[in-house]
Structure formats: structure tokens, C-alpha cells
């Protein structure tokens, strides 16, 4: 005891002594600045994740997520959706014949029709999709096989497409427009929908082909090349059509606003899908009157001009009719996930509450005795 007292006294003496002689201006200048940052003493908020602090968060998440999830689930369930597979691999299928004898340079298109009926009417706008399965639009060789600058109307790229387009870059020495594997494999089935009135007449349903592509794609990203001539045919002079196409790009549509590179079917196709099973927007069936549903209950016929071969890679083709809510098409995933996560959080909240009560007090009392 004496020893420690002695040394403490000694140290104090030294300390004050050491401070005494110093203090010249020159010495002071080398002294580090006494700023909060340099001394690591910035004022700070020091939160700690303890059971107590996290508890309310868990309950809040639980209470928020469960209603959201229920809302999403209900919305998803209210969406009408109808899928029709018309691949035609089964012999019973109406498109069996078309799918079997297929060649790219067929002169007469093969047409088949599939009948179906709607049990419930489709209210509001109905969106018609075509769906492909086992089609790897996200394959790297495929994804990069395009020339965005050609599609943007660049005349140089029109004549001299990017190397990335190989082997769909040139045909017979002429540059292909639009070049690349994506454009080359443009989906070219034609789908038409007929409503079979109970009185026997068959009325074709108006399919809108505008507004299926992103507005920005249609107006900015995709542009027709502009030459001296306003005629598209003249501008595309000297280019070849993609090998698998039946018509050149400047004959895709009669409407000049939907022809050439700004053809919306082309634009939709050019946006490569994320997964091998995908759907793409084909047409929109707009709601005409406020009184009758867009697609009333009844029988329908889908007439398909069957051009697109998928049998070789075991693909499937579908036609999908769907209504859309604010959250898009039918997808129960989000709703279920929200409900699950909300419940788990709530449950964890309860568990933490128990732990907090049982151990929280214990550990803090242990500290005090320590």
C-alpha cells in the first residue's frame, strides 16, 4: 500500500514538472491540432442493437408487412389470366400439322386455329402476350448479337454493322439490316382473336399494336435511318434482310410510324428476356365501352399463322390473355412473401421479447456485480 501511494505521488510530481518547461511558440506549432476529428472525438450517435431496441422494429415490420401481403395477394387473385399453348407437339393439338412440316421458305403460310372459352369476363384492358419456353434469349452470344447504333438510325452502322452481329452480319456481301441473331430470330407468328357470338357469327377482336413497346425505346433508342429520301425503301437500299425474315425491315408494317426499326414488334423482341421462359406483349385489347366487358364470357377462336419453329429446341409457344392491375399481371409470389416475412418478424419479435425479459435483466445485473 505504501509503495503504490509513493509512486502515485511521484508521478504527479513528474507530470506537472514535464509540462512546465515546454511551451515555446516553435514547439507549439508542431503540436497536432486539437480538433474533434483528429482526436477521434467527433460527436456521434452510438446505437447498439439490443433485444430492447430491435423489438419494436420487428413488431412494426410484422404489422406493416402482413396487411401489404394480404393486399397484394388479393389483388393478384383478382387478375384474370388465360394461357393457351399452341405449340402443337401433341398429335391432338390443332397446330400439330403446322408444327410438323415446317420450313423457312414456305410460300403458303400454315394456319391453325385453337378454340377456347372464357368462364368469366375480362374487364378493363386486356393484354395479349405470346410466350416462349426454353428459348434462351439471355444467352451471351445471343444478347450481344445486335448493333444498337444501327437500330438508332446511324447510316454508317447501317452499311457497316458491328462485328458483334456475326454470323448474322452480312448476307451475300450485303450488310444485314437489322443485323444480329436477335433481330434474325424475330417472332413471326401472327395471332388473331375471334369472338364466337352465341348467335353463330364470328367477330374479329380489334388488336392494338401500338403501345406495346417502351415509349423511350420507340421514340429515342430505335430510329429509322434518315437519308436524302424520305422513302424507307430507298434508305435501306443496299442492305439485305435478315436470313430468316420473309419480308425486309421496311415492309414490316404499312403504317410508316410503325415500320422499319421503329416497328414495335421488333422493339419488343429486341428487349431480350431475362429468363428462358418468358412472355412478350403482343397486342392490347382496349376497353371500348364502359358498360360491357372487354372480353365477355363466351367462346373464342385463336387463329395462328404458324411460322415460328420451336420444336427443334423443345420450346413451347403460348398465347396469354391477361388483365393488369397496378401491380401488373398475376403473380402471387409477392403477396405470399410479404405475409410470410411479416409473420416471421412478428414471431421473432415475440421470441426476442421473451429473451429480453428473461436474459436482459440477468445480464445487466451481472454487470453491476462484476
Amino acid at each position: 500500500v505504501m509503495a503504490s501511494g509513493y509512486s502515485a505521488k511521484e508521478e504527479d510530481g513528474h507530470h506537472s514538472g514535464a509540462l512546465g518547461p515546454a511551451g515555446g511558440a516553435a514547439v507549439r506549432s508542431r503540436k497536432p491540432d486539437n480538433t474533434a476529428f483528429k482526436q477521434q472525438r467527433l460527436p456521434a450517435w452510438q446505437p447498439i442493437l439490443t433485444a430492447g431496441t430491435v423489438l419494436p422494429a420487428f413488431f412494426i415490420i410484422g404489422l406493416l408487412f402482413i396487411p401489404i401481403g394480404i393486399g397484394l395477394y388479393v389483388t393478384s387473385n383478382n387478375i384474370r389470366e388465360l394461357q393457351i399453348d399452341y405449340t402443337g407437339t401433341e398429335s391432338s393439338s390443332p397446330c400439330f400439322a403446322c408444327s410438323q412440316n415446317y420450313s423457312w421458305n414456305m410460300t403458303t403460310p400454315c394456319v391453325c386455329s385453337v378454340s377456347f372459352s372464357l368462364d368469366q369476363p375480362f374487364e378493363s384492358n386486356v393484354f395479349m402476350y405470346y410466350g416462349l419456353s426454353n428459348f434462351y434469349q439471355n444467352h451471351r452470344r445471343y444478347v450481344k448479337s445486335r448493333d444498337d447504333s444501327q437500330l438508332n438510325g446511324n447510316l454508317n452502322s447501317l452499311k457497316e454493322p458491328s462485328k458483334e452481329c456475326e454470323p448474322y452480319r452480312t448476307n451475300d456481301g450485303k450488310p444485314i439490316a437489322p443485323c444480329g441473331a436477335i433481330a434474325n430470330s424475330l417472332f413471326n407468328d401472327t395471332l388473331a382473336l375471334y369472338y364466337n357470338d352465341p348467335n353463330g357469327t364470328e367477330t374479329q377482336i380489334q388488336l392494338v399494336k401500338r403501345g406495346i413497346a417502351w415509349w423511350t425505346d420507340k421514340h429515342v433508342k430505335f430510329r429509322n435511318p434518315v437519308g436524302d429520301d424520305s422513302n424507307l425503301t430507298a434508305i435501306f437500299q443496299g442492305t439485305a434482310k435478315p436470313v430468316n425474315w420473309q419480308k425486309p425491315v421496311y415492309e414490316l408494317d404499312s403504317d410508316p410510324e410503325n415500320n422499319g426499326f421503329i416497328n414495335e414488334d421488333l422493339i419488343v423482341w429486341m428487349r431480350t428476356a431475362a429468363l428462358p421462359t418468358f412472355r412478350k406483349l403482343y397486342r392490347i385489347i382496349e376497353k371500348n365501352s364502359s358498360t360491357s366487358p372487354t372480353l365477355p364470357r363466351g367462346n373464342y377462336t385463336l387463329k395462328i399463322t404458324y411460322n415460328y419453329p420451336v420444336r427443334s429446341f423443345e420450346g413451347r409457344k403460348r398465347m396469354i390473355l391477361s388483365t393488369i392491375s397496378w401491380m401488373g399481371g398475376k403473380n402471387p409470389f409477392l403477396g405470399i412473401a410479404y405475409i410470410t416475412v411479416g409473420s416471421i418478424c412478428f414471431f421473432l419479435g415475440v421470441v426476442l421479447l421473451i429473451i429480453h425479459h428473461k436474459y436482459g435483466s440477468r445480464s445487466s445485473s451481472a454487470d453491476l456485480t462484476h
Binding site: 433485444a51 441473331a181 423511350t216 429468363l275 401488373g328 416475412v341
Partner: protein, 1135 residues
């Protein structure tokens, strides 16, 4: 210079113990010997250049590049870059080439700058002027031009420029005084002797006539060993050969004291000097964290390889069907088709490697380097580590080891100048039990001590008074102190009276100086030795003269010295002073008990005590003594033994006068620092060149040894009695018995209260322990020794040569636990251990700046070590640990979705994210928050860390980078990645989630995953942050905002320089969809949930000490927190 290095190596390993494997002949003054005597073979020696730099101008680029690419990581990135250049890969070579180039350049610039500084320091040393005798004249030369054989003139207080043989001095007796403080830490003045036959060559002209050669061994690092011979040629005579020993050698780095000038001849120069040989080559130190990082890196490399391999194999399995390999819509080019399948497979493998290579990010190395470099500024900026006395703060020489400061297990400290101030001070004396404490301010006033013993009779009677004065006189007379006069104009008396500046005492023992100075303060001033009379100025300002008849010099066996003097009145006195153990048995009267009690009390305080005794001699007795000494001195055989016997016969039957206490003042707060370090679980060893008694006293004073510590001695004294083998086994048995009982009780957590051991070992014994045994059982003694050391709380190694210090450090460093070692010292003698230890700390001491220059960190005082380790080290460690783990985590999160995506894109190496995201993810979106975290995170307040050293144990043994924790982080990353990917997958699963029915493509998919990823990893860091300053808020929220702004911009324009526009409006379209928002929120929540739950559970159920203290502080500071918030807001406004 390389030639030199090899030569050094060879000479270092070849010069064996005593034998001259190789010798060199030095021609003094480069004059060839007279013809016929010997062939003149001029040998080539290196010049006196000191080289500590690593590169030259020419070899910098290749050598530096080579060294940089030796790092696994850099080499790996180089390979990736080359692969990207050569083959068609999913990402462009710029994405890895640019960062790599940046890293390499920055590192090269940094290392180049450091080397340039070293060049500058070398130049400063190499160009300082030296005086050389050439053709009878003094010539000034630059130090590096000095050559072996040059005769050098060194003046007082100059440092020797190389190793020299002393030829002559300004003193008549051919001696000079030298302090080797910067070499071995002994600050006392040592006497060196000129060669007898040359000491008369006292001027330049005379020296020019000297013809002599020196034959000596090739340089070797042992400071205390030298064997050589000088041959002096005279006209026509046979040359005279004289042996040379270490007493003739002046070593580079030592300083000439109290001698006007000396002439000496250079024998070892430049990198061959003993000082340079005692340096260890600067090898790059790697911290434990870096080692773990490399281990993790290898794991990730394996993961990467296996990922690439799995994908390649699966790709070819999947592609076995030609319609999958090459469907009609996606044909290959002709050249691709013709490539051999093996080449294709190999290219695919490499392409997968490139695709996943981000899992080992270049940016981690950049961030770690930046963190270390910038972080080290906090050490230099620390005001608490600034010393007003020397006007300097801490210095950081290598920032690579910051985090190692938090991992130290063993501390090796020097004593002199590190633990102690390196100046002795007279504290008190005790005469017959009365304690006298001189006071610096009231000079000479006697202050009776207030402590117990002297109160027995507080007023000394006339008899006491007489004793008291005799005691003071004894101390004024019984010493070998010399008075050093400086330009004495009119008398020494005035000079001494006026104190410092004009004259002062010097001696080979600083204790004696302290004692004589202490006497001066008590009123008795020793003036000088003149004509064999010692003059003392007594209290009444009268000069008393004593004739000095005999001096019985001090030696370490007797541990005492005596003088015989005749007073003015003709009485003959024998005064003796010495260690208590050697005085008390020889005392026949005096107040032995009181004095002994006081001596013991002082020893416990860590003071160096001496006892003083006297006896009156009759003339007859004196004559007998003279006779005795004379015969002993003249003895031809066993002179030492006979002298010892004579001394023994003379020094007996004393009357005890009293005792003195001298303190080698400990550095400020040294004891407190050592105590804290002990509490933090570190073992402190003292390694000193000093002698055992002194060192042991310091250890007691600095609380290294406590009163309860049982001291185990492993010294030459003991091994002489018993052989080494037995001593070692004895000690280990003692220790292990204790250890057995200790393990039983460690669970009770009271291990501190147990009997602890302290070990004292000296240099000679250490050599014996370390020496490989003849019968091959090399490690045997070493192992036992280590076992003993492990169980000792403190170890003192005395009488250590510099290289031995390094050896000890090395021994511990490579013992089986591979503990992290730290060496701290202030002198050149500590440099080798500073370089050897994992972390070397230099004290900016009085003995030059060599240690500070060679250290990794330099601090002004020993006490600063506490903050350095407990606060800075701790912070750096937790910061870098989180940095490393987090980096691997965020890159698993980043890359694992890409891996999963391969299963859905036909294993085609399609990247999930856009190139911009791939490149910028590590560089800008997630780099700043972690960098900032790793700079300013404080999980616990600084003051708590300092107050509670035991927190240091929480991070011991690299605890935050253990495999368990690493695996946890990795799995967390994998889990998060799975959540991101499949969350997005199910959202995209064959449906639309826009309100206008339009579809999203693969880039939207990737962007969704990426957005969740960026938010999750940033928020994960936010959850880990315990110290939210305004900068943290700014950086964390800022980088999230930056990501959003960047994405808006990146997708907002058709970028003319890009050949693809795949990101055009992708991000905005995604944000326009409600479900995308909901999905992002959901996925972030799910990803963060398990980590939060784990943290909260662990804290509640199995809290660590750190967590307990955090929680406790929170409980106590509930009320303060509001104040905190207020101050925070006010400060953020002021910023």
C-alpha cells in the same frame, strides 16, 4: 553494393567463435611496410558508405514490379487482365486493367518515396564530415569516402565514423572515455586504451612517420569481441607485435567523451562495422491480419476456381444436345465452330473465371492500403501522444502494421531510456536510522523523513551529529568520480558553486555521480583531486583536504569499493561503500537494524541502495595493509585471486554509517503502463545490456516484478554452482507444479491472484540455452526454457548484446503458439530486436534517433505505448477485421447471383449486371462507407478502452478473423445472394409487373438484383456501425443516393461513345413499377433479418465483455443520450 551484402553474409556466417577464419591486414595510413618485411598486398575493402535503401534509380522499376507481383493478389489480377486481353470475355479488360494499374502505380510511388527518404537519410550520414590525416595534415572528407587504413581525428563529443583502433589520445596515459549508449544502452563512460607503443604519436606530423600494420579478424557482429595484432616497424629493427583486444577498438556509433581528441585508424568501414552488422536487414513485415487475408484469399480463389469449373462442366453437359448448343436462332460463327473442343472448354473456363473474378476484388487491396495509410494519421495527430518536452508526437514509419498493435501478446522492452529516464538521482540517505532527503530547491537543507523508522530518536545527539558528518565525508571521498572542468578561468570552486555549465562530475558509474551530487545538495561538495589530495567544501564553506592513500576498486564479485584516506588532522580512515549484502556481514557495530530496515524498504521501492561503513586505522594497521596490497599487486601468478584475498582481509570490522538510495528515475507512468499491459493479457519482458541488480531494481520499481513475485534466477552465478541442465529442470519443476494447480482454478477467473513468477536470465546463460547440443537434442533446452517463460508473468534478460535481444524475440516469435511480439527501445542497440519483432516501436530518446528511424512506430515516451496499443491498436484491429470480412461478404453478395444466373442462361457467361455496375460496384457504390467505417469506427469509447485494459483480451489471437467468423460472413453473403436472385426470379417469373402491361428484359432483372444488393450491403454496414458521426451519415446515405443518381443518369441518355445502349431507361422503367419497389423493400428486409437476429441473440444470450460494456454504458447513459443528440445536431450545424 550487392557484392557487399554477400560479403557481409559470408563473413557473418563464416567467422566462428574464437577462431579467425579469415583475417585482414590494414596498413595504417596506407603506408607500405619497409621492404623485405612482408609483401604489400593492398586489399580491397568497402568504403564507409551506409546503405539502408532498397532500390537504386536504375533497378527501381523492375525490382519494385517484381516485388509487387510477388503478392498473390497482384499476380492474380495481372493474370485476369491478361486473360481478358487475349480471349473473348464477358467483361472488358479495362474493368480489371485500370484498377490494377492504379494499385501498382500508387504502391510504387509510395515505396519509391519511402526509399527516397531512406536515400536522403543515408546521404546525410554518409556526407557528414570527418577529419583524416593525410601527409601530416588534417583533411576534411565526407564520411563515406573514409577507407580502411585511414587515420582519423575525432574530437570530443563526436561520434566515431567507423570502427577504429585507438592509436593515441590527448591524455598522457593514452586513455579515452567513450559512451556506447547508442550501441548497448550503457550510458556510463568506458575507458579505452591506446596501443602502448603508439600513444606517443600525438601530432599529425608524428603520425605521419608511423609505419605499422594491423592484422585482425574479418568483421563480426559481437560488440565485445575483437582479436587482432599490430606490427610496428621501426628503422632496421624487427617489427614489434602487440596484441589488440576489444579495449583498443572504438566502435562506430559510440561517442568520445571527456577527451579532447583521439587519433585512430579505421579497420572496419561502412556496412562492415560492428554496428551495421548488428542491424538486421529490413525485411517486410506482414501483419497477422494480412496473413488471414491471404488465407481467405486462397479460399476464395478455390471457390472461384470451383465455380468456374462447375460451370464449365455443366455447360458442356448441357450443350451435349446440339439444339441447345446451337439452336437455329443463335448460331456460332465459322471460326468458333472450327475451334477444338478442348480449347473451347479452356476458353470457357477462363471466361467464367473472368466473370466471377470480382469475388476477389482489387479494390479491397486499395481500400486496405488507404485505410492503413490514412488511418495511421490518427496516431500522428493524437494529442495525448504528443510530448511537450521534446516537442514531438508519435511517428508512423510503416502503416502496414496498424492492426498488429491490437494483437500484441509479448512486449520486449529495453530498460535504459525506455523504462527509465536514463538519469540517476539521489533520493535519500539514512544515517543511523535518520533519513535525509535532499531537496532540489532548498539546497543543502536537511529534511528529516516523515516515515516510521527515523522517529526512534528524532534529534540526533552530538554523537549522531558526528556520525552524520562522517557519513557525508565518506560519500564525498569514497568514489572514483572525476571533476570535469570546462574552461576554468579562475578556480573550480566558483564553477562548482554556480552549478551546471562550467564543471560537472563524470564517472564510469552514474550512481557515483548521483551520490556525489546528492552530497553537494546536502552541503558537502567534492571539489577535485589535486596532488593526490581530495578537496571537500564543507557546510561552513571551508575546504577540507584528505590525502588519498589507496583505492580498492569496485568489482562485481565483491560488490563494494573502499578508499583509505588521511584527514587533515592526520587520522587514517578506511571508507567502504557497497551493496548491503556485502557490507552487513562485515560490520561489527552501528545501528544495523534500523539501517537494514530502511535499505529493505528502499529496495522494495525500486531504489538502488548502497551501504556505507568505515573504520579508523592506526598507522600500523595501515602499514600492514600497504604491505598486503603491495605483495598482491606484484604477484605474477593468480594476481586477481591474491588481490581479492587481500581486499577481503582489509575490508572487515567496519562500523556502519548508513545507507543511500539512488533512483534511476522511471519514465513517467511507466509502472501504470506496465500494469495496464499486464491486465490486457500481454507479457512484458525487459531486455537490457545493463547488469542484473540494476535491472532487477528497475523491474521492481516499474511493477514488472511485484513484492509477491517469486524470482527464478537463471544466471551465470547459478549455473556455475549447478550445471545448466539441473537448473533448468529445477525451475521448470517449480513452475509446472504451480501451473498444475493453476489450470484447476483458471475457471474461477482469479488467476491473477496466484503466485506469479518472474524470471531473470543473463546473456551468457541464454547463449548456453540456445546453443545446439552436441548430442543432437537441439530443441531440448530451448523447449524447457520456453516452457518456463510461458509460465512467468515477467521475464528480465540482462547483459544482452543487441543481437541476443533479437534472438530472444525470434525465439518467442517462432515458438509453437506463434505469438505476436512487440519490441520497444530507444537506442541503436535495440534496433535489431525492433526489426525482428512483429511490431517495432522506437522511443525518441536521448541516445539518438536510430531506434526511432528503424522502428515501425516511434513514440516520445514509454507511457504512450498504452494508448498506442489499448486504444489505437484495438480500433485498428476491429476496423480492419470488419473491413476484410465485409469486403469478402459484399463480393459474395455481388458475384453469387451471377453464378446462379448461369444456370438460367445456358452457362453462356452472360453477365447479370451491366458493365458499368460491374466496374463501379467496388470502386464507388460500396467503397466509401466501408473505408470511412474502417477509419473512424469506435465500437467502444476511447476512455473506456483505456480504463479497462482487459477489453484488449477480447480481440486477442486474431479473434475477429477466425475461420468460424469468416465462414459465417461467407454464408451470410451466400444467403443474401440467394435471396436477391430468387427474389427477383420469382418476381420476373413469366409475368409482368408494370401497370401498362409492358415487359422487362434481362437488364432490368440485373438492375433489380443490383439495386437490392447495393442497398443491402450498405445497410448491413450501417447496422454494424456503432459510431455515427455526421460523416458516416453523409457517406452512407450519400453513396446510396449516388447510386440512384448515377443509375438515373446512366440510363437517362443515349451515350454516344458506347456501342450498346442496353441500360437506356432501364432503371427508370423499373422504378416506375410499384411491385419493383415492394420487392426491393422485401428483399432488403429479408437479407438483413438473419444478421440482426443473430446479433441480438448473441448479445442477449452469450455477450462478450465488449458487448457487456456497450450495453452497460447504454443503460447508464440513457439520460445523457439526449444531450448527445443535442450536441450532435449543434455540431453538425457548425460543420
Amino acid at each position: 553494393m550487392d557484392f557487399n551484402a554477400i560479403r557481409n553474409l559470408i563473413s557473418r556466417y563464416c567467422t566462428g567463435e574464437e577462431n579467425w577464419v579469415d583475417s585482414r591486414t590494414v596498413y595504417i595510413g596506407h603506408r607500405e611496410p619497409p621492404p623485405g618485411t612482408e609483401a604489400y598486398i593492398p586489399q580491397r575493402f568497402p568504403d564507409n558508405r551506409i546503405v539502408s535503401s532498397k532500390y537504386t534509380f536504375w533497378n527501381f522499376v523492375p525490382k519494385n514490379l517484381f516485388e509487387q507481383f510477388r503478392r498473390i493478389a497482384n499476380f492474380y489480377f495481372l493474370i485476369i487482365f491478361l486473360v481478358q486481353l487475349i480471349i473473348d470475355t464477358p467483361t472488358s479488360p479495362i474493368t480489371s486493367g485500370l484498377p490494377l494499374f492504379f494499385v501498382i502505380t500508387v504502391t510504387a510511388i509510395k515505396q519509391g518515396y519511402e526509399d527516397w527518404l531512406r536515400h536522403k537519410a543515408d546521404n546525410a550520414v554518409n556526407q557528414c564530415p570527418v577529419h583524416i590525416i593525410q601527409h601530416g595534415k588534417v583533411v576534411r572528407k565526407q564520411s563515406h569516402k573514409l577507407r580502411v587504413g585511414d587515420i582519423v581525428l575525432v574530437k570530443e563529443d563526436e561520434t566515431f565514423p567507423c570502427d577504429l583502433i585507438l592509436l593515441s589520445t590527448s591524455r598522457d596515459d593514452g586513455t579515452c572515455f567513450v559512451t556506447t549508449a547508442s550501441l548497448d544502452g550503457e550510458s556510463s563512460h568506458k575507458t579505452y586504451y591506446a596501443v602502448q607503443d603508439t600513444k606517443s604519436f600525438n601530432t599529425e606530423q608524428e603520425l605521419d612517420t608511423l609505419r605499422a600494420t594491423i592484422e585482425c579478424e574479418q568483421p563480426q557482429p559481437d560488440l565485445y569481441k575483437f582479436v587482432g595484432r599490430i606490427n610496428i616497424y621501426q628503422e632496421r629493427d624487427e617489427p614489434i607485435a602487440r596484441p589488440l583486444g576489444s579495449e583498443n577498438v572504438l566502435l562506430r556509433g559510440a561517442t568520445l567523451k571527456n577527451t579532447e581528441y583521439v587519433y585512430a585508424v579505421a579497420i572496419y568501414t561502412g556496412m562492415e562495422t560492428k554496428m551495421a552488422l548488428n542491424y538486421q536487414s529490413k525485411s517486410q513485415k506482414r501483419s497477422a491480419v494480412e496473413k488471414s487475408m491471404n488465407a481467405f484469399l486462397i479460399v476464395y480463389l478455390c471457390i472461384l476456381l470451383s465455380k468456374a469449373l462447375i460451370n464449365t462442366v455443366l455447360k458442356y453437359v448441357w450443350q451435349a444436345n446440339p439444339n441447345r448448343d446451337e439452336p437455329w436462332y443463335n448460331e456460332k460463327t465459322e471460326s468458333e465452330r472450327q475451334r477444338h473442343v478442348l480449347i473451347r472448354a479452356f476458353t470457357d473456363f477462363l471466361a467464367f473465371m473472368v466473370l466471377f473474378n470480382y469475388i476477389i476484388p482489387v479494390s479491397m487491396y486499395v481500400t486496405v492500403e488507404m485505410q492503413k495509410f490514412l488511418g495511421s494519421y490518427f496516431i500522428t495527430w493524437d494529442e495525448e501522444m504528443f510530448d511537450d518536452e521534446i516537442g514531438e508526437g508519435a511517428l508512423v514509419n510503416t502503416s502496414d502494421l496498424n492492426e498488429e498493435l491490437g494483437q500484441v501478446e509479448y512486449i520486449f522492452t529495453d530498460k535504459t531510456g525506455t523504462l527509465t529516464e536514463n538519469n540517476m538521482e539521489f533520493i535519500e540517505c539514512c544515517v543511523d536510522g535518520h533519513v535525509y532527503v535532499p531537496h532540489a530547491i532548498c539546497n543543502g537543507q536537511i529534511l528529516p523523513g516523515a516515515l516510521g523508522i527515523d522517529m526512534i530518536d528524532s534529534s540526533p545527539g552530538p554523537d549522531g551529529k558526528e556520525h552524520e558528518e562522517l557519513f557525508f565525508r565518506a560519500l564525498c571521498l569514497c568514489h572514483t568520480v572525476q571533476v570535469k572542468e570546462e574552461e576554468t578561468v579562475d578556480g573550480i570552486k566558483r564553477g562548482i558553486h554556480q552549478g551546471k555549465g562550467t564543471s560537472f562530475y563524470i564517472s564510469s558509474s552514474p550512481d557515483e555521480v548521483a551520490l556525489v551530487e546528492g552530497m553537494k545538495r546536502l552541503g558537502f561538495t567534492y571539489l577535485r583531486l589535486k596532488d593526490n589530495h581530495m578537496e571537500i567544501l564543507n557546510r561552513e564553506d571551508e575546504i577540507e583536504r584528505f590525502e588519498l592513500l589507496e583505492v580498492l576498486n569496485f568489482d562485481s564479485v565483491r560488490r563494494r569499493m573502499s578508499v583509505i584516506v588521511r584527514s587533515g588532522t592526520g587520522e587514517l580512515y578506511l571508507f567502504c561503500k557497497g551493496a548491503d549484502s556485502s557490507i552487513f556481514p562485515r560490520v561489527i557495530s552501528g545501528k544495523v537494524e534500523q539501517v537494514r530496515a530502511r535499505v529493505e524498504h528502499n529496495a522494495v521501492e525500486g531504489l538502488r541502495t548502497l551501504c556505507v561503513a568505515y573504520k579508523l586505522l592506526t598507522f600500523e594497521e595501515y602499514q600492514d595493509i600497504c604491505q598486503l596490497l603491495e605483495t598482491a599487486k606484484l604477484a605474477l601468478q593468480e594476481r586477481d585471486k591474491k588481490l581479492a584475498e587481500a581486499y577481503d582481509a582489509i575490508e572487515r570490522d567496519f562500523i556502519l554509517l548508513g545507507a543511500t538510495a539512488v533512483e534511476d528515475r522511471l519514465q513517467d507512468k511507466a509502472a501504470d503502463t506496465i500494469e495496464s499491459l499486464h491486465k490486457a493479457g500481454m507479457k512484458v519482458w525487459v531486455l537490457t545490456g545493463d547488469k542484473m541488480e540494476t535491472a532487477a531494481a528497475t523491474c521492481y520499481a516499474s511493477k514488472l516484478f511485484r513484492r509477491s513475485t517469486q524470482i527464478l534466477e537463471l544466471t551465470t552465478k547459478r549455473t556455475e554452482e549447478q550445471n545448466l541442465h539441473d537448473v533448468l529442470f529445477d525451475l521448470s519443476r517449480t513452475v509446472l507444479r504451480q501451473h498444475g494447480s493453476l489450470t484447476r482454478d483458471t475457471f474461477s477467473g482469479l488467476s491473477n491472484e496466484f503466485q506469479d513468477y518472474g524470471l531473470i536470465i543473463d546473456g551468457a546463460t541464454l547463449t548456453a540455452v540456445m546453443k545446439p547440443d552436441q548430442d543432437g537434442s537441439t530443441g531440448n533446452y530451448k523447449e524447457i526454457f520456453l516452457e518456463i517463460c510461458r509460465n512467468c508473468s515477467a521475464v528480465l534478460c540482462c547483459r544482452m548484446a543487441p543481437l541476443q535481444k533479437a534472438q530472444i524475440v525470434k525465439l518467442i516469435k517462432f515458438s509453437k503458439e506463434h505469438p505476436i511480439t512487440l519490441a520497444i527501445g530507444d537506442g541503436a542497440n535495440d534496433v535489431s530486436m525492433i526489426l525482428e519483432a512483429h511490431v517495432g516501436i522506437g522511443i525518441m530518446g536521448k541516445e539518438g534517433r536510430q531506434a526511432a528511424r528503424n522502428s515501425d512506430y516511434a513514440i516520445p515516451k514509454f507511457k504512450h505505448l498504452k494508448k498506442m496499443l489499448l486504444v489505437h491498436g484495438h480500433y485498428y484491429y476491429i476496423r480492419i477485421a470488419e473491413l476484410v470480412q465485409y469486403f469478402f461478404y459484399k463480393n459474395v453478395c455481388f458475384i453469387f447471383p451471377q453464378f446462379l444466373y448461369q444456370f438460367f442462361c445456358g452457362f453462356s457467361q452472360q453477365p447479370l449486371y451491366d458493365t458499368a455496375y460491374l466496374t463501379l460496384y467496388n470502386i464507388s457504390f460500396t467503397s466509401l462507407p466501408i473505408l470511412l467505417y474502417s477509419l473512424i469506427e469506435q465500437h467502444i469509447n476511447m476512455d473506456i478502452l483505456k480504463r479497462d485494459p482487459s477489453l484488449y483480451r477480447d480481440i486477442a489471437k486474431n479473434s475477429l478473423l477466425r475461420w468460424r467468423i469468416f465462414i459465417y460472413w461467407t454464408f451470410l453473403g451466400v444467403f443474401d445472394a440467394v435471396v436477391f436472385f430468387f427474389g427477383a426470379y420469382f418476381l420476373f417469373d413469366n409475368t409482368t409487373f408494370t401497370s401498362n402491361g409492358q415487359m422487362f428484359g434481362n437488364w432490368t432483372f440485373g438492375t433489380l438484383v443490383f439495386t437490392v444488393l447495393v442497398f443491402t450491403v450498405t445497410l448491413k454496414l450501417a447496422l454494424d456501425t456503432h459510431y455515427w458521426t455526421w460523416i458516416n451519415h453523409f457517406v452512407i446515405w450519400g453513396s446510396l443516393l449516388f447510386y440512384v443518381v448515377f443509375s438515373l443518369l446512366w440510363g437517362g441518355i443515349i451515350w454516344p461513345f458506347l456501342n450498346y445502349q442496353r441500360m437506356y431507361y432501364v432503371f427508370m422503367q423499373m422504378l416506375s413499377s410499384g411491385p419493383a419497389w415492394l420487392c426491393i423493400i422485401l428483399l432488403i428486409t429479408v437479407s438483413l433479418l438473419p444478421d440482426v437476429v443473430k446479433k441480438v441473440m448473441c448479445r442477449a444470450l452469450w455477450p462478450t465483455t465488449t458487448e457487456r460494456i456497450q450495453t452497460k454504458r447504454k443503460c447508464l447513459n440513457v439520460e445523457q443520450s439526449t444531450i448527445f443528440m443535442l450536441s450532435q445536431t449543434s455540431s453538425s450545424i457548425s460543420f
